[in-house]
Amino acid sequence: MVPTATASDPIVQVEAITLRFGGLTSLSDVSLTQQRGEILAVIGPNGAGKTSLFNCLTGVYHPQEGNITFHDDHGKSVEIVGPKPRFAGLGGKSHVRNHGRKPHQVNRAGIARTFQTSRLFNALTAFENVKIGVESRMHTGPIGAMLRLPRTRHEDRESDARASELLEFVGLRERANDIASSLPYGDRRRLEIARALGTSPQLLLLDEPAAGTNPAEKNELVRLIRKVNDERGVSVLLIEHDMGLVMTLADRIVVLNFGQVIASGVPAEVQQNPAVIEAYLGAPDPEDAYDTSGPAEDGPEK
């Protein structure tokens, strides 16, 4: 689903966000826009701020400046991060402080994520993992659950069906009753995607989905991500180190370095961009390599 260049229908807009940790500036004035239906990749060398950006998008970190807005498929806009005026007391000038949504609220808005090192519910079965994702969209409360009201049972059956369907979709049907911790690496990755899809996202954020997978598993993952994008119409934003994967998957690429966007465009363009080549291979002249007036590396990459 490559969007046409003319029609701008953004699903998420990041506007000039800056994130600092104490004295360290991890993201500086980063802006990017993802179109609906697009697979967007964010790449960059280690410490470029990719994970920080990711954590801002998912509500883990709240950047001190800038906005992040999510536009869902139904025309509703949700501010993930944005300024919120605060009353500063009598006589004081009212100042504006950035206010962000919590991770679960971000998820509810329609953005689901996976983790760099998969974080499954390890003592539960694959099926239960997905079901927990699915159920976060259900409504059964404690009273309904304790009385096992008809509506509760109905929701439970519905979640079961959705969870099975999702396991089938990612190709883990045979593994449904296996304990998550016992699954091989590639399967864990896919299970995490299934759990994320369970929350019915419109945008799926993948944090280095191919990290640690072998070539066969990687190919399957590429196919799965494609399938998620094509068949389910879910927009995908991914961070990746693996250039091969990025070049085959991404519709568009944004390159970060030292917490700033240094390039963006379709894969072919980015590949030719001298700034990108420099960032990855180092400048020909060592003097230039450190001549970035940009901010320092990001601290909490992991």
Binding site: H104, N107, F115, R119, F121, K131, I132, E135, A196, T199
Partner: protein, 446 residues
């Protein structure tokens, strides 16, 4: 321990040998047990308790006990896999013997039948124990199990909600110095007492459950203490340290059905049994519902749970409130049965007692909570009246403390663990997952 320079190679070798060290630890454990079960000492003769229990032929028995323990542990290590296989098969036996839902149903009905029929042949003392010591505490343990077992939170002020339930009972029936707008029959005040306890749980939980888990433990401990102090000092509201008397027994006048609970224990026992069965069924459903799974998710990995759209704080408060209301219910029933409330019934150590009941049975396991509470509440009573043991009630917490430590060292999952909890703890100990909700504070890092 490389720091210790043993004088001779032999001693050094002994010290370095795990077997020898374990033997020493086991014998030491036996000696501690000898002291625990030995005579009392006093301030003027501080060593008399020790000499009385160690300088006596009975110490031989405890040393032998230590050696046997060591032999068992060594055997368990040598033949660990075989033993584990046997124990797994044993613990799986009930499940295998009762594979069919219908067979299991019949089994539970038989149990219920025993629970209904057996107490009638007991004497008055044991019937009373069955209500005051066992029934009420089973209910309390079931409630705390939701907080500790399901949600993985440590609540050390749990008894405070029991107090709130009991004082609500007193309030609505007009026994307190402050009077309500209208008096209620104790039976109809039950929902109000439960509601009051639940509200207290939400009010205490909503701000404090954002905190790190160990801070929560301290805050709840302080809360339990505060409730006790308040009950003691607000003479005009709670009746002060003497408490209040005159809380009426339950009675029903409804659609022609008239029943009065009186002084006898049995009617209260059946009422409690009814509550326990209802709570058991409700919590069983809860455990296997969307809510129960959300708790597991939070216990396992709070960050992943949040990212899967689970409002962590909301579910923690929910667990807290459900636990609190169960505690309130127990307080209400007990207040009506004994007819009075006093602050001395809500000491902080009772919260610890209930914690031991839950841990002993197995965190997160409904049968565990029931059996744990029943066994641990029955044993002291039995040992107390049995002439051979002469158990002193004042030593109870000595044993309970020891049980907690020993359980945490050797069997953290409890005696009747839930399968899921067992798996979690096993995984957590291999560095996967956390098995409690202690790690993070909710809310963003910014």
């Amino acid at each position: 321990m490389s720091t210790v320079r043993a004088p001779t190679p032999l001693l050094r070798r002994l010290w370095l040998s795990t077997d020898a060290r374990r033997l020493a630890a086991c014998v030491a454990g036996g000696l501690v047990l000898a002291v625990m079960t030995g005579p009392e000492g006093s301030g003027t003769a501080p060593t008399s308790g020790f000499t009385g229990s160690l300088g006596n032929s009975r110490v031989i028995g405890f040393v032998v006990f230590g050696v046997v323990l060591w032999l068992l542990m060594t055997a368990r290590q040598r033949y660990g896999t075989e033993i584990r296989a046997v124990s797994d098969r044993l613990s799986a036996a009930p499940r295998r013997l009762l594979p069919d839902k219908r067979v299991r149903g019949v089994f539970y009905l038989v149990l219920l039948g025993i629970a209904i029929g057996y107490p009638t042949v007991l004497n008055g003392f044991w019937q009373e124990v069955l209500v005051d010591q066992i029934g009420v505490y089973v209910l309390l343990a079931l409630g705390l199990n939701v907080v500790v077992g399901y949600a993985g939170l440590l609540d050390l002020g749990y008894i405070a909600f029991y107090a709130i339930g009991a004082y609500s009972a007193a309030y609505w029936t007009g026994a307190l110095p402050v009077h309500p707008l209208f008096h209620l029959n104790a039976f109809y005040a039950i929902p109000l007492a439960v509601l009051a306890a639940m509200l207290a749980g939400v009010i205490l939980g909503a701000p404090t459950l954002r905190l790190r888990g160990d801070y929560l433990a301290i805050v709840t401990l302080g809360f339990g203490e505060i409730i006790e102090i308040v009950a003691n000092n607000l003479q005009g509201v709670t009746g002060g340290a003497q408490g209040v008397i005159g809380i009426p027994h339950f009675s029903i006048h409804f659609l022609g059905v008239v029943y009065h609970w009186g002084l006898g224990s049995l009617p209260y026992y059946y009422l409690l049994l009814g509550f326990i069965v209802v709570v058991l069924i409700a919590f069983h459903f809860l455990e296997n519902s969307r809510v129960g799974r959300a708790w597991v998710a939070i216990r396992e990995d709070e960050v992943a749970a949040e990212s899967s759209g689970i409002n962590v704080l909301k579910y923690k408060v929910m667990a807290f409130a459900i636990g609190a209301s169960t505690s309130g219910l127990a307080g209400m029933v007990e207040a009506s049965k004994i007819g009075f409330v006093e602050p001395g019934d809500f000491t902080v150590q009772l919260s610890i007692l209930i914690l031991v009941l839950v841990i002993f049975g197995g965190m997160g396991s409904l049968p565990g909570a029931v059996i744990g509470a029943a066994v641990l509440q029955f044993l002291p009573q039995y040992l107390r009246v049995h002439p051979l043991f002469g158990f002193q009630q004042q030593d109870l917490y000595l044993y309970l403390g020891a049980i907690l430590v020993v359980m945490m060292i050797f069997r953290p999952v409890g005696v009747f663990p839930s399968r899921r909890r067992k798996r979690e703890l096993g995984l957590a100990e291999h560095g996967v997952g956390s098995a409690d909700a202690m790690e993070s504070t909710t809310g963003p890092i910014s």
